[in-house]
């Protein structure tokens, strides 16, 4: 714990996943690795959009990272991205979106890579190594 405390923490991370186990894993891993001060869990894309929309006037409260699952019932990850595109620039500028999925479908991968909002395509499950890689590749800016 000593070592992780010295690393910088993301202030806030949002996890969007319909699977409760995967939400739990993400939350637990983020906590264990000292990855973020606060983890917000949303069980649907709709809920996440409402959460983000409510923070429109307090952009500092927006999450720095969003872990987004692709396959979800109802609105899926791409549906979320379509709606997300409608947010004002102030909202969008604050967050980095990472697609989190088990899909190997090349269409899914290209679609995720073609979206201007998706920074990376990450295979589940979230692990220590992957969080370290993210921390390394997307340095925390205050």
């Amino acid at each position: 714990m000593e070592a992780t405390n010295q690393k910088k923490l993301y202030r806030k991370v949002l996890v969007i996943d319909d699977n409760p186990t995967d939400r739990f894993i993400a939350e637990k891993m983020i906590e264990k690795c000292g990855f973020a001060q606060q983890t917000i869990l949303c069980e649907s894309a709709q809920e996440a959009l409402e959460y983000l929309g409510a923070l429109e006037h307090e952009p500092d409260e927006l999450p720095q990272l969003i872990f987004l699952d692709i396959s979800m019932p109802g609105m899926d990850g791409y549906g979320f991205l379509e709606q997300y595109a409608k947010f004002p620039e102030v909202v969008r500028a604050r967050s980095i979106i990472l697609m989190l999925t088990t899909s190997l479908h090349p269409d899914d991968i290209t679609r995720a890579q073609n979206s201007p909002f998706v920074a990376r395509f990450i295979n589940k499950p979230i692990s220590r190594d992957k969080l370290d890689m993210i921390r390394n590749d997307f340095p925390i800016v205050y």
């Binding site: 699977n19 894993i25 088990t102 899909s103 190997l104 479908h105």
Partner: protein, 434 residues
């Protein structure tokens, strides 16, 4: 879809024209036999009234006319019309040679029947025209008392007889023309029908393929999702326990879950290679290797890092199927990492890529455990595993070989136990213009 449609209709007209050209070739052959027989028949007729000059002169000229038209205007169908006219003129020649023997008029019917083979009703026209002109002219000349004109042996022919004669000839030619037309229409309809049936079958096949593809992806995703949740949970439990046995069990559990996951991915790769079309992507090997290296970082035993050496030579632009190429390299390189030799201090994977104009040579070598000589011929077999120590599905190199087969490439191995393994891969460069 647009281009697909286009190529299919093109294909169909290609089939019709192929069919028509087959008819043409066959008919041309038959025409050769007939026209030589006609010439020979003329020679035979010459023995009756000593008309050798006519038989050789006129008959010869007709042969020359036909064959020169065929030779110099081979691309056009014009020679077929010449053939029609030539056959008409042979009739006139035979009538003359037999001094108006009535039965010689039947040659015209024979000619008309011969022409059906081309399945073109228009070929009857030159023949009919020549018959009419010949009959009218020669009948007129003979009954006007001009000498040496042999049209008929009848002393007198009424206009009524003459008209009956011509109308019957025209009727026979029309019927032959009609048959020719019908044959052609029927053949075309038949080809059309076959094609429509094929098209429907193709569409059904495409849909079945698409559905199967979709099913494989969905099934693999649905199998992997809970499996990866399990792997995540295992990580958390490992983090929260210090009990040695539990950790050992967890590692075994993790190993098995990873093995199952890799197996599902392999099956997916296998089915994808089998059914997707070959792409033609620009390839940048440096980027490809970086990506593979990044993915393999999380592989297996992370306590020992494997030295990753890459050498790329050549500047040629390379085109190939990125997804398959990625698959091939990923499998071979991950094998090199997986089968590392624990007794060696510095495990390495060395990837040397030589880019040439029309192909790329890739050499992947390691200082791993090596493959026993007797196992080497079997390593590309489906589900074959040379080592029981590790977690492979036995599909990796099989998929590599299959994918290389689709790309027109080759793979060769040289290995010694305890020394290491080198795979030599050759992949043809698919140029953009193809």
């Amino acid at each position: 879809m647009q281009t697909k449609q286009n190529s299919e209709s093109l294909d169909q007209s290609a089939h019709i024209s192929e069919f028509l050209s087959a008819i043409k070739t066959k008919s041309d052959q038959l025409a050769n036999y007939f026209i030589f027989s006609f010439f020979a028949f003329g020679l035979f007729l010459a023995t009756f009234y000593d008309t050798w000059q006519i038989a050789v002169g006129v008959g010869g000229l007709l042969l020359v006319a036909y064959f020169s038209a065929k030779m110099f205007l081979a691309d056009l169908d014009f020679y077929q019309y010449v053939l029609s006219a030539v056959l008409g003129l042979f009739m006139a020649q035979f009538i003359y040679q037999m001094h108006g023997l009535f039965e010689m008029h039947f040659t015209a019917f024979l000619s008309s029947a011969i022409l059906i083979t081309y399945q073109k009703w228009k070929l009857q026209i030159p023949l009919l025209a020549i018959v009419i002109v010949h009959h009218a002219l020669f009948a007129y000349l003979q009954y006007s008392g001009v000498d040496g004109i042999y049209f008929t042996q009848l002393d007198h022919m009424s206009l009524q007889t003459f008209l009956f004669h011509i109308v019957l000839v025209a009727a026979i030619f029309s019927v032959c023309g009609l048959w020719a037309y019908q044959f052609k229409k029927y053949s075309e309809m038949h080809i059309d029908l076959i094609f429509k049936k094929k098209e429907v079958e193709n569409m059904e096949l495409k849909r079945a393929n698409y559905e199967l593809d979709h099913f494989v992806y969905s099934a693999s995703h649905d199998l992997r999702a809970p499996l990866n949740s399990m792997l995540g949970l295992i990580e958390i439990v490992k983090d929260e326990t210090a009990e040695e046995h539990t950790l050992e069990y967890l590692d075994a559990l993790k190993g098995n879950a990873e093995r199952l996951d890799a197996f599902i991915c392999d099956i997916l790769d296998y089915s994808r290679n089998l059914r997707t079309d070959i792409a033609n992507d620009p390839i940048v090997y440096r980027e490809l290797l970086e990506e593979i290296g990044k993915n393999l970082k999380f592989m297996g035993d992370s306590s020992r890092s494997v030295d990753f050496i890459t050498v790329i030579r050549g500047e040629e632009p390379v085109f190939s199927d990125r997804s398959r190429l990625n698959n091939i390299l990923n499998n071979v390189i991950s094998n090199a990492i997986r089968y590392q030799d624990a007794s060696k201090e510095k495990p390495f994977v060395r990837i040397e890529i030589d880019i040439l104009v029309d192909k790329t040579n890739i050499e992947v070598s390691d200082n791993g455990i090596g493959i026993p000589e007797e196992a080497q011929p079997k390593i590309y077999d489906m589900f074959y595993r040379a080592s029981n120590k590790t977690l492979g599905s036995g599909l990796g190199l099989y998929i590599v070989k299959e994918a290389l087969g689709r790309l027109g490439g080759r793979i060769r191995v040289s290995s010694a136990v305890g020394v290491g393994t080198t795979f030599y891969i050759e992949i043809p460069n698919r140029h953009t213009d193809k």
